[in-house]
Amino acid sequence: MSAAAFKLCMLGDFGVGKTSLVSRFVHSTFSEKYLTTVGVKVDSKKVDLPGRAPCKLVLWDIAGRSHLDALNMTYLRGASALLLVADGTRERSLHTALNLLMQARTLLPEVVAVLAINKLDLVEQWEVAPAALEELRRTLSVHETSARSGEGVEAAFADIATRLAA
């Protein structure tokens, strides 16, 4: 029997590293040019969960936007989870991610949401204050990731898979 599949949408401002995170996590089938043409690129990744049946994440890497237009909202339809990506070196990208979450919840009120603060390899340049992250952790699952080194990437996706399979 095939693994249960869940639609996961990657949301975040332009340049925060969504596509890099996906590339680190999966071997892409489609070219990234679809991000600039269609506005989305879809990949899939089977995730093994300890003590549970594996599940498949279908990753919709939506082109970076500060807000969701009508087309992007259609891309969100049927999503089970959101991976909000922010750039730790740009505090404004965190605000954008949270705004995107607010928009997405109007369409997907029960969606599982996880926040990834990317570019951990540049942690010394981070503008996002640790205190702010601690505050966010009270309402969101927050992961610190580095698409460049791969640190925290698997964990972020595994966290989402675990929550979806629960």
Binding site: A5, F30, Y34, V38, V40, V42, S44, V58, W60
Partner: protein
């Protein structure tokens, strides 16, 4: 036990001790206090019931305002239960509305029905265009003719045969995709194809479909098909799932209808979660199953199609073919007829004949100027035949004879005959001509041998002979007419005198020419009368003429009563003569 009222007027169920309020103006009577003591519990129960009724009435009056919120909260708590609870009443209400307010329902559904009808019509026209294009493109090729023969033999429409043979196709993948999320509900692929990331492909397909729809901007439009080279994508849309079919080649139109039917069946068989697909449905999506059923549907449609249109077309084609064959045979027969007439025409050698247009010919050949014009051989066909001739000298006996008469300038008293190139000259002619002709006869082209036997005569005798020849032709034209039997007509006497004159002149000429004359009087009759009577009358008239001539000095006139019995034009008698060379 007694009950009390709350400060806001609501009656409470909790039992309390009822204490009568002191009222100096209306002191409670003993009877009232007794009632309170005896009926206190019942009065409390009545008050509680009043409160309940009042609460129910208030809730009912507030129900319309609270109902939308209640439905929304029920939808969040358990959508399936809510849907299940409302299914029957909504269906019943919809049925009642259709019966009682049909126009309202029609108005509401109009925006939906219109596009659906247009889509169905467009699909049907697309299928028709596909059939027509296939038929036209292959109509007159050898392969198309073979299909026509097969269609005629089997009774299957031509378009079906053409599509069956030409439209080789294959189904590579069939995706059942959840409409909202783009997740794959099922995927069936043809054997031996490399594995692929079906989730990613289904997701991208869904995203591209949304992108196209958003880009086009027309309300309700969908991405139904896409073609890249020989690869084709069909997307059949359903309310909960779409069916995406990846093909190569040119599939038959019935396959699309089959996919639509299959998607409808899948929607009817979705599990309780709206996503699960049972094994039977999964099997029905397999490419080989779909292709087999599409072929079966084609065959079924072919068998059920009326054979009459094809029969009529076949009959028309046969009639046309027959007419063409007959026309061609007639044209060939005409050509052969012209060829035979030209080939038998003396002095013309046919070297080639070819058609020019539908009913005209060009005949090429060699033509001797001494021959009769070719047009005489063609008769009425002459205007339709163009002659392209080159001159030549014929050795045909008839042409050589004509050539000899022309080159030798032979008089009519000279007979000319050619047989196998041998020229025979006979008769008589003046001595000068005889001398010249004897010398030149052998020079005539085509003459291999000369048999010259023309007798020489003096010029006077020759002239007498020529005049005798003329009289021999003109004398029988003079007719002595009779009214009946041997009773002369009014002008008969004058004619008779002319005959006498000619006869005397002939006798004189015969003496000069040295020939003897044999006279013959002949009687004729008209049509009425028996054969015996007519023969008698003819004999009497001939005798009358012979006797009359004898009376004028022209003796020894023979009669020919039975001669020329077929001449029934008039009641007459005439004279003719035969010359014979005088015995030496």
């Amino acid at each position: 036990m007694q009950h009390a009222e709350s400060g806001n007027g609501d009656r409470l169920d909790a039992p309390v001790i009822r204490v009568a309020a002191p009222d100096a103006a209306a002191p409670a009577s003993d009877l009232d206090r007794l009632k309170d003591i005896l009926l206190g519990d019942e009065l409390g129960a009545l008050d509680a019931l009043d409160a309940r009724v009042e609460k129910v009435e208030r809730e009912q009056s507030e129900l319309p305002a609270r109902l939308p919120g209640a439905i929304e909260s029920a939808e969040q708590d358990g959508a399936e239960r809510m849907a299940h609870a409302l299914a029957k009443p909504v269906a019943h209400a919809l049925g009642t509305a259709v019966r009682e307010n049909r126009q309202v329902i029609v108005d509401v559904l109009f925006p939906v029905i219109g596009p659906a009808i247009r889509k169905a019509i467009a699909e049907a026209l697309r299928n028709l265009v596909t059939d027509v294009n296939g038929a036209i493109e292959s109509s007159f090729t050898p392969r198309g003719l073979r299909w026509r023969f097969e269609a005629w033999r089997s009774g299957v429409p031509y378009a079906q045969i053409a599509i069956k043979d030409t439209l080789n196709y294959g189904i590579d993948h069939v995706f059942l995709i959840e409409r909202g999320s783009g997740l794959v509900l099922d995927r069936e692929s043809a054997p031996h194809l490399p594995d692929l990331d079906s989730d990613a492909i289904a997701g991208m397909l869904t995203a591209i479909g949304e992108f196209v729809r958003d880009s086009v901007g027309s309300g309700g439009g969908t991405l139904d098909s896409a073609r890249v080279g020989e690869h084709l994508l069909w997307v059949v849309h359903g309310p909960r799932a779409n069916l995406a079919c990846f093909l190569h080649g040119v599939p038959p139109p019935r396959l699309h209808a089959l996919l639509e039917q299959r998607l409808e069946a899948l929607h009817a068989g979705f599990g309780a979660d709206g996503r699960s697909v049972d094994d039977a449905s999964r099997e029905s999506l397999h490419p080989e199953v779909l292709m087999y059923e599409a072929r079966a549907a084609d065959r079924s449609a072919a068998l059920s199609a009326s054979p009459w249109p094809m029969r009529i077309v076949s009959l028309a084609a046969l009639a046309l073919l027959g007419w063409m064959i007959v026309r061609n045979e007639r044209a060939n027969a005409w050509v052969e007829s012209v060829r035979a007439r030209l080939a038998s025409h003396h002095g013309f050698v046919l070297t080639g004949i070819e058609r020019q247009g539908r009913d005209a010919l060009i005949a090429r050949g060699l033509f001797d100027p001494d021959a009769e014009p070719v047009a005489t051989a063609l008769g009425d066909d002459a205007p339709r035949v163009t002659l392209d001739t080159v001159g030549y000298v014929s050795t045909d006996d008839a042409i050589v004879a004509r050539r000899a008469r022309r080159l030798l300038a032979a008089p009519q008293s000279v007979t000319i005959a050619v047989d196998g190139g041998a020229l025979a000259l006979g008769g008589r002619a003046v001595a000068a001509w005889v001398d010249t002709a004897r010398e030149r006869a052998a020079w005539v082209p085509g003459v291999r041998r000369v048999d010259f036997s023309v007798a020489s005569e003096s010029d006077e005798a020759a002239r007498a002979r020529d005049e005798l020849d003329t009289l021999a032709g003109s004398l029988p034209e003079r007719r002595v007419a009779f009214v009946r039997e041997t009773e002369l007509a009014p002008d008969a006497a004058a004619v008779f005198e002319a005959i006498v004159g000619d006869a005397l002149r002939a006798q004189s000429l015969a003496a000069t020419a040295g020939v003897s004359i044999t006279w013959i009087a002949t009687g004729t009759n008209d049509d009425p009368g028996s054969d015996a009577t007519n023969a008698r009358v003819r004999a009497e008239r001939a005798r009358w003429l012979a006797d009359a001539l004898a009376a004028r000095g022209i003796a020894d006139v023979r009669t020919a009563a039975d001669d020329d019995a077929s001449d029934v034009s008039q009641r007459s008698a005439f004279l003719r003569f035969v010359l014979a060379e005088a015995q030496p």
